[in-house]
């Protein structure tokens, strides 16, 4: 193919190499590009398939959802959704929302100044501090569950949403500090110095100089913390019972060892996933900017 191109172009010997390589780069990208696109589609579909399957199953009757081989074209039904909404899921959903929103706000309020002190005006031995934050994530949650339970029992904090809010805040704080620190490191020192020279106060500098630059970072950190809190099951299952139970705990209640449950579990899972999806879509623009911030440096 390159030979044909060379003959057709009939360029001078000096430009031959350039023409050949030009022909090669023209010929190859479409083929490899198509292959890559195809691969991306296949991988994308593989990732999306369980979600599609969940959506489809949620609209089937329990009997059709349980057949083997699966009945893809079975008639659609809202039975699963009726069961879910008929079982009064609102307290659990509101508990999840309370725990996730409040813990995310607390995390941001605490993580932002910490990240500022670790990046823009770094404290002494700031790397040790960062490692300390990271080290708190090294202990698996399950290893700490017994002391957390016993403490909550003695302090009368079992089945209390504030105990979950506190735990979710501590659970997400190191991640948020690490994320925000890397975003704050993007703020140029020149901008801060210029603001200082112009007589801007610290709070004004933070509000008008730093915040706009790191807003995408804050959005992505907030979303990550919200998702982690919203989906958390282990702590919620052990530490709550009838009053403060969150939606992941409520979801597990649809599974039974005697009878069919796939359609209603899929319907319930879909509804419970919606707030996270909504938050993700709402923060999409900022999120993409935020996640690619460190990458382009």
């Amino acid at each position: 193919m390159s030979t044909t191109t060379r003959q057709d172009t009939g360029v001078a010997p000096g430009g031959e190499q350039r023409a050949r390589s030009g022909a090669v780069t023209h010929a190859k990208p479409p083929r490899s590009g198509m292959l890559l696109s195809l691969l991306a589609w296949v991988v994308g579909l593989l990732f999306a398939l369980p979600v599609f399957w969940m959506v489809l199953t949620s609209f089937h009757s329990e009997a059709d959802a349980a057949t083997n081989p699966p009945s893809v074209f079975a008639p659609l039904s809202l039975e699963g959704y009726r069961t879910f909404f008929g079982s009064d899921p609102w307290p659990a959903l509101l508990n999840s929302l309370t725990a996730s929103v409040l813990s995310t706000v607390l995390v941001l309020v605490l993580a932002f100044p910490a990240a500022y002190a670790l990046s823009i005006r770094p404290v002494r031995k700031w790397t040790d501090v960062m490692f300390f934050f990271l080290s708190t994530k090294m202990l698996p949650v399950v290893a700490g569950i017994l002391p957390l339970y016993l403490f909550a029992q003695k302090a009368h904090l079992l089945d209390n949403i504030w105990w979950l809010i506190l735990l979710y805040t501590t659970m997400n704080l190191p991640i948020a500090v690490w994320m925000l620190r890397s975003f704050l490191a993007e703020v140029s020192v020149e901008m801060l110095e210029a603001a200082e020279v112009d007589g801007a106060s610290l709070s004004r500098t933070l509000r008008e100089i730093v915040a706009p630059v790191v807003m995408p970072g804050i959005a992505s950190a907030a979303l990550i913390c919200f998702i982690f809190s919203w989906n958390e099951l282990l702590l919620a299952r052990v530490l709550t019972s009838t009053v403060a139970a969150t939606s992941p705990v409520y979801l597990t209640g649809f599974v039974t060892s005697q009878g069919l449950f796939l359609a209603k579990v899929c319907a319930a899972s879909l509804v419970v996933s919606l707030p996270v999806l909504a938050a993700g879509f709402a923060a999409q623009d900022k999120l993409v900017q935020g996640l690619s911030m460190g990458a382009v440096k």
């Binding site: 609102w90 307290p91 659990a92 509101l94 508990n95 929302l97 309370t98 929103v101 409040l102 995310t104 706000v105 941001l108 339970y149 016993l150 029992q153 079992l158 089945d159 209390n160 949403i161 504030w162 509000r207 915040a211 807003m215 804050i218 299952r237 052990v238 709550t240 019972s241 009838t242 009053v243 403060a244 139970a245 597990t252 209640g253 649809f254 599974v255 039974t256 060892s257 005697q258 009878g259």
Partner: protein
């Protein structure tokens, strides 16, 4: 950013106002309410539906339920009751846990409440149920529904081969019939027996077979007998039967798989829980009306059916025991069975616990074919003396000690491997004997 944060804070504060600063969460609570932790079985879900409209309306006591799958609920109950945190007033426990929890002082005795509540009619509860939910003469649990085990078979298939099923068959007779009906229809195996590992799966039916062959896990003085000739003979018989005439995929088959096999015509017989009959005789079942039910097969004992119940127990740490009893008295009472029959249909009645259920013509109309065999199976079950020798602990298809789930599950994995042909019964039971010996030593040292 200010707007977004402001909005988030406003939403959060609004939500927290709903939660109540000292309160804990969005759900209910209060002095005239009780908390119930229960397994997510269909009978419990029906109970949940009927509670507000009937129990709460009559008594003014609101009930907050936590419903979890079986394994999760066992974990949660164990965590809750061992710590006596008092979060739940009532939990659904089986007759495996109740005697253990009673000895540990985690559940409250109910005799005082029963004596005062004449309308409850404790004498109507089937005697083996009361026995299996008691410890040292005191009652610690009231059954919600119960089951035993029996043999289910396809009447039409046996008839086509000119065979008759005895009312009280021996295991040898069952094995002979299984051989004759194996392949009676294309793809049909002789019998379905559980092969899935698990103390509550494979070892539920197998322990009843061991009992009737004269075997036992432990003798009265805790001497382990897992590789004794009787235990070995029973296990070899079970493994041979399922390998020669059993269902496809036997090493993975549990209750659900066998239920599907019998319903779909893949097997001619099935030895399992009496509670399976309700699904097999349901309106949409392909085998409705085609099945016969006879007593659990025997060898050396008069009966061999197991006994299992989901029952209510009150946590010792509960501060609302009176209200808790009112709920139990309602849920396990005669009137509740009538309520379910009238509101949801008689096939959904949580049966297997009261003698009066089996005298109710409305119930008998829908449960005609299996009601009497079920009642007879439960009544003939003897959880204190299920075999030919005295036992150190109560239990038919299990040994009622906290170590049994682990021991039973480990040994069942090797027996399941023997069904799959990967090991021999002898090797499986020799390993089991070592494991049982470790457990036995602890009890022998304690002199229990």
């Amino acid at each position: 950013m200010a707007t977004t944060t402001g909005l988030s804070v406003a939403v959060a504060l609004g939500l927290s106002a709903c939660a109540g600063w000292g309160g804990g969460g969005i759900g209910g609570g209060g002095p005239n309410s009780i908390n119930v932790l229960m397994v997510n079985n269909p009978q419990m879900v029906d109970l949940q539906k009927l509670t507000a409209e009937h129990f709460t309306k009559e008594t003014g006591i609101s009930v907050n339920f936590t419903v979890l799958p079986e394994n999760d609920v066992r974990d949660k109950i164990s965590q809750e009751f061992t710590s006596q945190s008092g979060q739940y007033d009532i939990a659904s426990l089986s007759n495996f846990e109740i005697p253990i929890y009673a000895k540990a002082g985690w559940v409250a005795p109910m005799d005082g409440f029963i004596a005062k509540d004449t309308g409850f009619d404790q004498a109507d509860i089937l005697k083996p149920m009361t026995t299996s939910l008691s410890s040292e003469g005191k009652i610690y649990g009231e059954p919600f529904y119960g089951e035993s085990s029996f043999l289910m078979y396809r009447k039409d298939v046996l008839e086509s081969k000119g065979l008759t099923m005895p009312a009280h068959p021996t295991w040898q007779q069952v094995a002979d019939i299984a051989a004759k009906v194996d392949g009676a229809k294309p793809g049909m195996a002789g019998i379905c027996l559980r092969g899935q590992p698990g103390w509550g799966q494979l070892f539920a039916p197998l322990t009843t077979v061991v009992n009737t062959f004269g075997g036992t896990w432990f003798e009265k003085d805790w001497t382990p007998k897992v590789n004794a000739p009787e235990f070995t003979e029973a296990t070899s018989f079970y493994v041979d039967l399922v390998r020669k005439h059993g269902e496809k995929g036997a090493p993975q088959a549990g209750f659900t798989e066998c239920l599907n096999n019998l319903a779909q015509g893949n097997v001619a017989m099935w030895y399992d829980a009496t509670s399976a009959a309700g699904s097999l005789e349901a309106q949409d079942s392909p085998v409705k009306g085609k099945l016969g039910y006879v007593a659990a097969p025997v060898v050396k004992t008069k009966s061999s059916g197991w006994l299992y119940a989901w029952a209510w127990s009150i946590q010792q740490a509960s501060t609302k025991k009176d209200n808790a009893w009112k709920f139990i008295s309602w849920a396990s009472g005669k009137d509740y069975e009538k309520l379910v029959g009238q509101e949801l249909g008689w096939s959904k009645v949580p049966a297997g616990k009261r003698a009066s259920t089996y005298e109710n013509p409305d119930y008998l109309k829908v449960a005609q074919s299996f009601a009497v065999p079920t009642k007879e199976a439960i009544e003939s079950a003897d959880p204190e003396n299920p075999g030919v020798q005295p036992r150190p602990a109560i239990g038919i298809q299990f040994v009622d000690i906290p170590e049994f789930p682990s021991l039973g599950t480990q040994v069942s994995q090797d027996v399941s491997a023997a069904i799959a042909g990967k090991t021999s019964v002898k090797d499986a039971l020799d390993k089991g004997q070592q494991l049982a010996d470790d457990v036995a030593q602890r009890y022998q040292e304690r002199g229990q």
